[in-house]
Symmetry: C2
Subunit: 258 residues, 2 copies
């Protein structure tokens, strides 16, 4: 049996998240439709993450088992023929039997895009949050450092999560500006339900109330969801990078040199 | 009577061009709907250009006359409330009676975006041409210099144009790359029907046949539409900038210092 790792990119606008759902279109369902066309069977597909409705992915990993000997470059081409325009397969490679797109993952990086201008951007309607009030990216970048380190992030987890261990490590957090586009980038070993979106809501609160890194760190320490900001909308969020430490560089910045 | 100049930005995907058409949605029609809501009357609106179906605008100028004394910032806000998400009013200002968005225009800049990668980009489906064959931006930038100067651009004009004078001046032409996005930028005192899209088709031909600036200049001089490239698709094209020499800087790079 070949174990294939496919890397895809998708625009989440039309989808009710990655995971298959009854009566709602999901990325996984559409990928499985294409897999059925290419491999001749409706193979089970495992994803690296559940993304919410409207969330995008610059890089998303999924795996499947097949007996078919289609060369990897041909899998990429054939899948892209059968997928709709808002999903693209970027890469296909064979991985070991023990690889799991979710459990082998050593970290993830998310981006959150904010169009920061009095007037909306017609090209970013579903791709960035429109925030008309001026944001000081340098001030927010300083505040975002309050997320760093290993903490119980219960204050940054929406109700409805079944995960019991809320301890996560954040390796990197930054806010930068290019023209009117403000981007929040955050890398960690794992993320709780809605964690990045609550971080963004908290940064927007920090902008309003001029909170710094110490105040952000205090909100993390207190562990009270009510003290953190609102959950920012899904359409600004991108799963940007999925790290597999044994394959290439790691989320904490260390790199395997063979 | 106040004479108002509105600057708008729009994503052209849903529209059959700027100009009002029977049985097809146009940008002008949707703008006039919003004008009617804001000004209480269906006022005639004059645009700076006819853009084709699917073409976008980062900056597009239009004018209208009104008796209503709504302050300009309020016009911007009210128009944006009544316009759909894919059209935005960026600016409103009063101009003299003699100003005309088309005839006062001293030049325009267009951009053409190409997603140059073997795999399509789900975020740029309707915003950039997907071109899978490798492009050498430096080579194309050199070739694009063959467009510069004052010439009869008949080789770069689609049939169906009613304009008789085909002489235009190109001040600037460049090709640059940012990652997998290749952008052609061109500024001139005016453009013929499909001129920029034929320039792009010719540059893609130049990439295939390794043509340089001299060969591009020769295609311009020969004046034979059949010797230029195909008309590139509309969805990569942006009207980027409309110049009014008496108001600010000019398309040829000279600037009025008051």
């Amino acid at each position: 049996m070949r174990h294939l790792l496919l890397t895809i990119r998708y625009r989440g606008t039309r989808y009710h998240g990655y995971q298959v759902q009854q009566n709602a279109l999901s990325v996984a369902q559409v990928v499985q439709d294409a897999v059925e066309q290419v491999f001749g069977a409706r193979l089970p597909v495992k994803g690296c993450s559940r993304t919410d409705a409207g969330v995008h992915a610059n890089q998303f990993a999924l795996t499947l088992y097949t007996e078919r000997q289609i060369p990897c470059p041909n899998v990429v081409r054939a899948m892209n023929v059968h997928l709709p325009e808002d999903i693209a397969v970027l890469d296909c490679r064979e991985v070991s039997d023990t690889f799991h797109p979710r459990y082998s993952c050593t970290g993830k990086r998310y981006l959150y895009q904010i169009w920061n201008s009095p007037v909306r951007n017609p090209f970013l309607t579903d791709l960035a949050l429109h925030w008309p009030h001026p944001l000081d990216a340098a001030e927010l970048d300083a505040a975002a450092q309050g997320f760093l380190g290993t903490h119980d992030f219960s204050a940054f987890c929406s109700a409805g999560s079944s995960v019991e261990d809320h301890v996560r490590t954040i390796y990197q957090a930054s806010v930068s500006r290019q023209g009117e586009l403000v981007t929040f980038s955050v890398t960690g070993n794992g993320f709780l339900y809605n964690m990045v979106r609550i971080m963004v809501g908290t940064l927007l609160q920090a902008a309003r109330e001029h909170l710094g890194a110490a105040e952000i760190a205090a909100i993390v320490e207190r562990g009270d969801r009510a003290k953190a900001g609102v959950t920012a909308p899904a359409h600004g969020l991108y799963l940007d990078r999925v790290f597999y430490g044994d394959m290439e560089d790691r989320p904490d910045g260390t790199v395997d040199r063979p």
